[in-house]
Amino acid sequence: MEKSFSRKLWVMYKKDVMNLKTESIFMLAFVLGINAFVYYQVMTSESTFGAGGYGILSSMVVFGALFLVFIRSFSLVSSEWKDNTLHMIMPLPIGGNTIFFSKLLAILTQTFIVGGISFGLTLGAVYMILELEDIQQIFNFLAMDSGSVLSSNLMEIVKMAGYGFVSFASLIIIVFFSSVVGRMFTKLSGLITFVVFILSNVLLSQITRLIDGAVNFDQGSRVMFLGEPGGGMSGSMAFMSTPELLFGIVFTVLTSLMFFFTTTYLYEKKVEL
């Protein structure tokens, strides 16, 4: 009996997750190690590092982990050639859509796990280090506009995080596209991959800028201050206006689909071993 599409996708996804397993463990060990080291420093020394410094450093570790995930997405495609595993994948009676969609899901899973655990560790450690009044300030900030169930500030952060997630997925798809284009050439494929990746992103940002200029979005971005001016926890956040955010999401989704289907077309019609 023929297996369903979802079953095939699941098997491909499991295979890609297994390919990422070892690196994910190393990334988590790295994140845990850095957090443990800095937490130990903060708690045992008289350094001026402080909770703020710790928060910044651990946030950098979170972004570092996500950057590693992003870098790994290049090799998730190219390793199929390097390790000859494409000989196992290409003869399968499945299309490029299944192959690349499973890879995308695997990378996003890795992002959730590595990013989520890194963020959780950072949050936990910052919570332990921060003074009670600092924590209250953060809650006050999130609880502004207290009339709604979910404060508008928190809502804005959730929306921005959603947009960030869509943008990250889009970036991964462009990585797949660049890698497949690079692999169509026997020489300098790494360099071609890099150039195509940069050019694709430049092209997209130019198109976005053009549309931005033509539509002239409502400049409703808000700058929010944390804490009192001059206080220990002051900071700012700029939010996009809702139309701009919606445009950003729709544009990113549409261009991602275009890049995704171009990638699968090139894989099916042009890629050779």
């Binding site: 595993t85 000989h87 196992m88 009676p93």
Partner: protein
Amino acid sequence: MIQFKNVTKKYGKTRALDDITVDIGKGKITGLLGPNGSGKTTMIKLVANLNKPSSGEVLIDRGPISQEVKKRIAYLPEIDHFYSWMKIKDAKNFVKTFYEDWDDNMYEELLGFLELDENMAIKKISKGQRAKSKLLLAFSRKADIILLDEPLSGIDIFTREKIIETMIKDYRKGQQSIVITTHEIKEIEHVIDDAVFLKQGKIVLQGQVERLREEKNLSLVDLMKEVYGNGKEL
């Protein structure tokens, strides 16, 4: 039936196949024979859809190689193509998902016959065992077309015999087509029905093995020496 119609395959300036036209008969075991660089593997790759012809066409049962056609093909590459984390059973679970013709009974039987344990980590086993593992996956299916690219290459004599035994063990003559590329002509001479001799991307000799032997009054090995050793085309 597998048909090559005026197929040329170029890699850069090199012509791996040069205007080849040949029919590979249904339900037979066909040997693609020739020295390194003669185009054997390229022919297999074109049928497995790993390569595309530069010109001409490769057809299976008079149609292009579609997803439906790929369901009927089992392909065994020369190189090791397993993921490093795979055990034999992982490879089995992976492959069987995509093919309706997978036969668990045949798999179990072959596993014992080839003296393999499905809990073996593929990256840790010997070259011979890896060759057997590839064979296990290809022959645990009731595929209409089985493509074997150098299955005997670099394998000891005992394993080679086991591989050939596996090939003919459950072979369904008349229904199943096996295409095999090899240098080890002596070992497969008694197994193959048809032979295609390739040289620098061209077919220099082809036909039923029995007839070729009678016509030239030579064994396949001697025929091969004639074709390649003396540089003469027969």
